[in-house]
Symmetry: none
Subunit: 226 residues, 4 copies
Amino acid sequence: MKKQGQPADSRERLLTAATVEFAKNGLLGARVDAIAKLAKINKQLIYYHFGDKQGLYLAVLEHVYADIRIKERALHLADSDPETAMARLVGFSFDYVSQNREFVRLLTNENILKARNARRSKLIRRTRSPLVQLIEETLRRGVKAGVFRKGVDPVQLYISMAGLCFFYIANIHTLSVLFERDMQEQAALRERRGHAIGFVLGFLTNTDAKAASSPRLSRRSQCRSG
Amino acid sequence: MKKQGQPADSRERLLTAATVEFAKNGLLGARVDAIAKLAKINKQLIYYHFGDKQGLYLAVLEHVYADIRIKERALHLADSDPETAMARLVGFSFDYVSQNREFVRLLTNENILKARNARRSKLIRRTRSPLVQLIEETLRRGVKAGVFRKGVDPVQLYISMAGLCFFYIANIHTLSVLFERDMQEQAALRERRGHAIGFVLGFLTNTDAKAASSPRLSRRSQCRSG
Amino acid sequence: MKKQGQPADSRERLLTAATVEFAKNGLLGARVDAIAKLAKINKQLIYYHFGDKQGLYLAVLEHVYADIRIKERALHLADSDPETAMARLVGFSFDYVSQNREFVRLLTNENILKARNARRSKLIRRTRSPLVQLIEETLRRGVKAGVFRKGVDPVQLYISMAGLCFFYIANIHTLSVLFERDMQEQAALRERRGHAIGFVLGFLTNTDAKAASSPRLSRRSQCRSG
Amino acid sequence: MKKQGQPADSRERLLTAATVEFAKNGLLGARVDAIAKLAKINKQLIYYHFGDKQGLYLAVLEHVYADIRIKERALHLADSDPETAMARLVGFSFDYVSQNREFVRLLTNENILKARNARRSKLIRRTRSPLVQLIEETLRRGVKAGVFRKGVDPVQLYISMAGLCFFYIANIHTLSVLFERDMQEQAALRERRGHAIGFVLGFLTNTDAKAASSPRLSRRSQCRSG
DNA sequence: AATGAATGAGAGTTCATTCAT
DNA sequence: TATGAATGAACTCTCATTCAT
């Protein structure tokens, strides 16, 4: 358990190795031996430091959550105009997931596990993402300036922005099979990034004065949900 | 004991049980014993019918792909106006993933496996999704009728629509933790469905002579991709 | 069980296939499925015809024993001079094992099983090899003619002749590794055949009048047996 | 329970037990459980130490080869006269196979496997048997002294010597059935040992100016090889 | 005489975890 | 803090054999 103490870089190496292995194979698929070998430490040290496999997994999860929160907090959008600010938000989301594939895999796997571990972690539950607030502020500024449409729910917008970026990266392999194109190549990634940004802005950007997020839509087609 | 019950429907029962188990636990996490017990057949029959665990997994994957393709083909949008048609497309996507969670889990897991199995399957590689074509046609009709913006790439739109729906379902547990709300409840699902449809239509119907899908955007914010 | 009846060539095909498979993999290693597939019959027929795997194995064993006895009986040496007759005996032994590798493997395997099955078979126990008698007669003729040494035990000679030939074929693979030469190639086989014949004749052929089979030998070196 | 008893001699016990089990049942027939039980260790240690069953088999094979090579190197024949030396060589061969039945079974089995493992082992491929050289030297001394015939190939002689001894032991069970006598009893073994020595010496010492190892032999009977 | 489906027993192997030092 | 040896539980898969027809 003893989390602090000496710098003990074996702990660091362990976390790095575990992140890779858990991202690749999930909690269940990951091999304790593989992690130990990758970190070049004795397997038993894992138990010494983290109690058991699940403890290590939780540490990894908390670590990656902490990382993205730090990056998110580093975003300063107040000095940009609303449209640019929103574009940077989407761009950041895309870049983060495309550059941190382990994060994507880890989240994906955690959902397969029904977020059992994330829910258990105080650290994860308490550290709120600053993005929703950023989105909210930017939206307000845009509406005030008359460039964004009104009535958009910031939480739903957050999910949509994430979806536009995350889904592409998370499902990049089946998409590649489906469209017979390697979606990992630079051109494809750039293309997707541009589309995501344009999609969000195209939606938000107002020229008239549309009220709600779902305009001109017959009730019929909207409400046959499951 | 129970030797013959049904001549060959044990194959069917097996597939159903395997779909559930693989969706829940992935290829690696799934237990052959669990599948056998669920299907109420002798474990060894799996090997008789499908060769090995992976063979069964592949059969499940193909089955699930075949199913969604059938449902997609059943969509008849030609007699709806473009906006309604598009709304129905998004609605269908959302409903399918929210009602077929196994499909979502299976795809997710297959991406963790780098689509190794999907790529191997001729059936999956060859059966193209009719959705992209449907989107393309609907887009064209909408542009012609002057209600949709021009220049939208149907493949990117397909991915966006999927992302808006799939991401929510696939990550429903971590989203629930993040927003401290059970995203699986009916109200939340309905809300999300409405937002997704509104998002797509809001984007497409912002038609004030905008040419491309990424309007009025400073180069700077668009191109810092990874 | 039903051994006779219709010609039923599936029984023949079965025996042939089983001979190959048992020779290759032994009783334990042989696969009932493999035999069935090789014989192009339904696996269950094996049980119909032979009761079980062991029954089939026994049938194969009896079959190969019967075959070699037939070939042995076909040898007519009475009209050859003793030396030629003896040479033909050795030649026959070598040729038979080198051309009937399954026989060699089957015997080898049966010895690993401590001849459990051969001992059980009345047919095998009763059908005596005519070779010992042939050797005995030939020896007698040679001694009478003054060309063979006296006092040679025909049973030991039989074993020696067999050993000189059988050992080479049975251990051909490890010998190949040991001497870094493919002992299966024609030249190597011919060489061995010549040596074996020469060895036996060289031993038997008398110019003086040696009495026993172990001449001029210090007691010391002969009797430290285990 | 019994965690540590002996730090690393479990490897030794494992090898001994495995030798017995593999000799008795071959690579395929041997049971990992049986080996573990015999060695009184936990089954999984086998995988820890040797990777898998085949790894253990290979270790056994190498061990057994190493053993006979050591014994062979311990033979000092230079101070014996050629005939005694040769008799000791044959005697050694017989005694070794009759006292090391596992060696015989292991070799036999390895030949059934087409020497796949022996060929793979550098150790086995490289460690040459010193016997051939011993035979060569002894032959030369004997020829020089005028007691041995000329032109005998030492490799063929090696194989013949081995055949005379090894075949008897390897096939002792079917021979017992064939001759209705227990070939394992002391008298039988002694008899065979004597015969083998006498056979080799009888062949070598027939020195009446014969040139090659196959004297006075009609072409006809010699060359109908397969 | 012939077949496809089904089964129970057990094989080799993997793996997280713990012991002793 | 660090390590090599050891372990029990479980998992995938194999295989001879039998059932029902």
